[in-house]
Symmetry: C2
Subunit: 340 residues, 2 copies
DNA sequence: TGTTAGCACTCTTTCCAGTTGAGTGCTAAA
DNA sequence: TTTAGCACTCAACTGGAAAGAGTGCTAACA
């Protein structure tokens, strides 16, 4: 793979991303100053096809990049350009204007990403399991019920109604809260071991009270695992010529409805930094003609969540990468602002 | 509009709903036992077109119903049939299997409606403004902050972090909670008047404390107004031949992204019972080739929210109406089960 | 007088053949 | 090694012909 081949591949990928039409040797020669004639380019293209970087619909059509071609382009040929200052300012402005509560941060992030990249965006919001348990408190509701309020370090508060077992009083619950807080404070929720639970059981003593406690803790774990997913710009993707076929649109919309599937996909990329999965590299049916770019964002070293761009393989990788890299670092600042 | 015309109109609408093709006199004569020849039907069709119930694409095409035609069909010709017992059982099963928390009730309702009708469903979940304020409590968070927990009769609990003003202590907040609970208990949130606020101000005495209280109350009002909207089956609509054109799909998907617009539309129908808005009767651009069927559900006489079916004008009105009527009565029961 | 059969007419859809144009692959010359 | 030239391929477009569905009108019929 000599340098000229690389330049030609780069030219083809860029032209194809722009035009969505198979590109021919003549077009490349005219639009890019490679200093060689179309015939030479044709020879190189034949080689590139042999090597698996390009594809051919039929004998007399131009070339389009294969998944392998995009992969090489993304890994080695992508011209990097930082985000414009004014774009950064605009993004800050959007956050300022439209976000009032912490969960709106993610909604707005999804909006921004889809708006800038003209593709679908996905934002997986922090899961409580990664955040440390902070404290649990009970509030009296009526004679037979109490409200459990559970807080974590990441700024999330959950609540649940618990029935007070016969023979117990609200005061027992308050005592129980002390025990639980003593044992669990600082633990991440998925680090709560059976041994710790056993200690709690012994300290509480009463079996029916412990069952209530267990339910609360179980619930907080359960809620924690329920990561939230925000989708943006599902209609943007329809502007792309590859989605002019309604059947394909349907397939992808159907995928968007399967929230758990999307969460699992994003979850699998958690902690991997910026990663691009191109075309057939995607295992999920319905995404084989798409590329997915994911990035994980952090806050003070603690894993927070995943942001992603989903578009046709012919997406503007450079732009998407630039934006995700920026949001990656920026999102932590925004979250901090809307934290406690 | 004699009876024969009505039967012919009914036959045309039904056939068109089924086939999505303009229907001709011969088809009607063959498929429906009207006892007259195609020629007679042609004459009647010409009359119906004159009266505005039918439309004509070009000289030699069959007829399709106009908005007026659908309107007459829905109002006067719709054959009513109750939901099958087994369908009811299936719906109950779905709720049982998939719903764990109160907000999942609405998500699942949307799923069920879209699944049964093969159209898009919209569910506007209860707004707190309609629910009565139950009580407010504070929990200590640290020296300078407290957590406010607000509960309403409808089973919703919201929380918010409030800073404790300099010079005040957590105990002042507890005193404040007593005052607020005394003044607001039983009020619906939108019935909290300036006069009541003034009383609270006087009873609290301290200005900075009152400001904190005001913020909490304002926040609970604010959250209350944020009705939640659940969408289901956006991909279903693509199976309909009228959405084979990607431009139309895009237009409607774009509408789905404007959550506030959808909320406003559903909100406008709140309290009107079962209502059908057909084709051009819809004022919103992008919905002019669709019909929207809405129904409001109640719980113990208290307004809860709106459920709706959105589909092409050629939707199966009978089925949708049957289902909405059933869900209408049924949803209250389900909500009750998942309430406190 | 309402109903029906017959027929001419309209318009869409489908098919086919011919043409155009973009693009390739190969060969031979520079 | 590069390039010009040329034959070849294939998709996309064009125009016309034929088929088919359906209408509207007229005249006959019960």
């Amino acid at each position: 793979m000599d340098e000229r081949k690389q330049r030609i591949l780069q030219a083809i990928v860029q032209d194809y991303i722009e035009s969505a039409e198979p590109v021919g040797s003549r077009t490349i020669a005219r639009r890019h100053d490679l200093g060689v004639s179309p015939a030479t380019i044709r020879n190189e293209m034949a080689d590139l096809e042999m090597l698996g970087y390009l594809e051919h619909i039929h004998t007399s059509s131009g070339r389009i990049p294969s998944s392998k071609g995009y992969r090489f382009y993304v890994d080695d040929l992508l011209p990097s350009k930082p985000l414009e200052e004014e774009e950064k300012a605009l993004i800050d402005k959007w956050y300022m204007e439209r976000v009032r509560r912490i969960d709106e941060v993610f909604q707005e992030t999804a909006r921004i990403i889809s708006h800038v990249t003209k593709n679908v965006s996905l934002v997986l919001a922090p899961q409580m399991t990664q955040a440390a348990f902070r404290c649990l408190q009970f509030l009296p509701l009526d004679e037979r019920r109490a409200i459990a309020v559970i807080m974590t370090d990441a700024g999330f508060i959950e609540n649940k109604i618990v029935p007070i077992p016969d023979g117990a009083a609200f005061e027992d619950f308050q005592r129980m809260a002390l025990v639980i807080n003593g044992c669990l404070a600082g633990h991440t929720l998925d680090a709560i071991s059976p041994a710790v639970m056993k200690t709690i059981r012994e300290e509480i003593g009463d079996e029916s009270l412990f069952e209530a406690a267990q339910e609360v803790i179980h619930r907080s774990l359960d809620t924690g695992k329920r990561e939230r997913l925000y989708l943006g710009g599902t209609s943007e993707i329809l502007s792309q010529p590859e989605f002019h076929d309604v059947e394909k649109v349907k397939e992808i919309l159907l995928m968007f409805e399967e929230e758990q599937l999307l969460k699992d996909i994003l979850h699998a990329h958690l902690g991997e930094g910026l990663k691009v999965t191109i075309g057939k590299e995607n295992e999920v049916r319905g995404m084989q003609e798409c590329s997915l770019m994911t990035a994980t964002y952090h806050l003070d070293g603690e894993l927070l969540g995943t942001i992603a761009v989903l578009g046709p393989t012919r997406m503007e990788y450079g732009k998407a990468m630039t934006l995700l890299n920026y949001m990656n670092g920026h999102l932590a600042d925004v979250v901090k602002k809307f934290r406690w």
